[in-house]
Symmetry: C2
Subunit: 269 residues, 2 copies
Amino acid sequence: MQEFSDERPIGIFDSGVGGLTVMKEVMKHLPWEHIIYLGDTARVPYGVRSAETVSRYSFENAEFLTSKGIKALVVACNTSSAISLDMLHKEFPIPVIGVVEPGARAAVKRAHSDKVAVIGTETTINSGSYARAIKAIDTSVEVTGVACPLFVPLIEEGWLDGEIVNLTARKYLSSIIDDSAGVLVLGCTHYPMIKNVIGKIVGIPLIDSAVETAMEVSSVLADKGLLRHEGNMPVMEFFVTDSPEKFISTGENFLEHPIERISKVRVAR
Amino acid sequence: MQEFSDERPIGIFDSGVGGLTVMKEVMKHLPWEHIIYLGDTARVPYGVRSAETVSRYSFENAEFLTSKGIKALVVACNTSSAISLDMLHKEFPIPVIGVVEPGARAAVKRAHSDKVAVIGTETTINSGSYARAIKAIDTSVEVTGVACPLFVPLIEEGWLDGEIVNLTARKYLSSIIDDSAGVLVLGCTHYPMIKNVIGKIVGIPLIDSAVETAMEVSSVLADKGLLRHEGNMPVMEFFVTDSPEKFISTGENFLEHPIERISKVRVAR
């Protein structure tokens, strides 16, 4: 039983608003924690950029958040997690939790088959990081990855149902249906917004890394005695690298919570 | 008659590959000119960012190109032109040519009606810069602007025909059909790649700013005695802020010319 209540905030970053789905789950699982969220909206999206650039951006984001005195770092962006988690572990002396490993663990647990499918951005899929994380748990599992570059712009446009998103999803997901995978990992924080469309097409269980990651954050903080478990209402603070207006309007849909304390900052060096 | 042949290159920048459609036209109209092209691929797309951020990025791009000793600057990005042309004119002591004014002039000339429609990114349309440029020529012309945020990702994905791009275009363009405009300005350098789809839906003439801009560059350089008109084959040099691989493969389709001398650079300050 932990006695000490650690007042330091948890830091969460994403390339934009998508990581708010992870923050929402962290708030549910750890309702006492102060949270600082950084959305790198001046350089979103990461999923189309090279590994080298994603790595540099991730470092700069982590540096900004650690300068705010966080006790743990959550990388709520699949592309950043896929590319830069090892580097962040080496560079920063606090617990660093990504979204790929929790998603991979849940996929293996629930697959009931030797096939797992993963969808994500081009850079996430090309990195092969989900396949590596899954094979590290069970080498016999076969992993198919499909990049779905149009899902993020469709979701940002608010076209969450109807003919266009259905046809697009059908086009991307046809190889997964043919492949008889046992489970599909939503390897991008935006995708849960269209999980009904995706679920109907593939007809297999979907893994939403946000929930898995929040459980991982909770267990890491408990293990290390870093939980906050008393005091005043926790404070939620937001930083963005482009102007806050659009982030607030889209973000409140993702977070299902008001976004009040928000500032624009520069993180690029 | 100009005697002196100005060996300095023309500088062209865009947020990514789209501006290569402008470069292609400049090469056609001014076949002797050396050209330096900068694609800010580490921060593309500009059309979803705030005016302040687009302005900062545009300044950094212009600063990089002027450090290379260019004789004129072409802003081949509609969003940058819409937001930052006045600032660039003030900050840099060389001719600066954007894509908005040439497109606006051509629209008024060819409209044969008092209504002009413009499509572009969200930031371009929200800026109202096409409407201002058109009204500066003829106050009686009515301008309707429609933002089409999914066109760029669809084009980058290579889905240039078929049901999905057709349905998307129909959805965005329906208000333009209803509005009985006389001409439609393609206010984004990517859009000429789907001009067949757009043209069939709207059934009115389309204005491609790339051609108009190249003619403007040609006439500005001639007026100021800055043309190159003799010597060895001109040199085409490319700079990108993210890794060159993807830029080369997509870019050669846009430019219809090999991309050989290319380097990755940092322009962010």
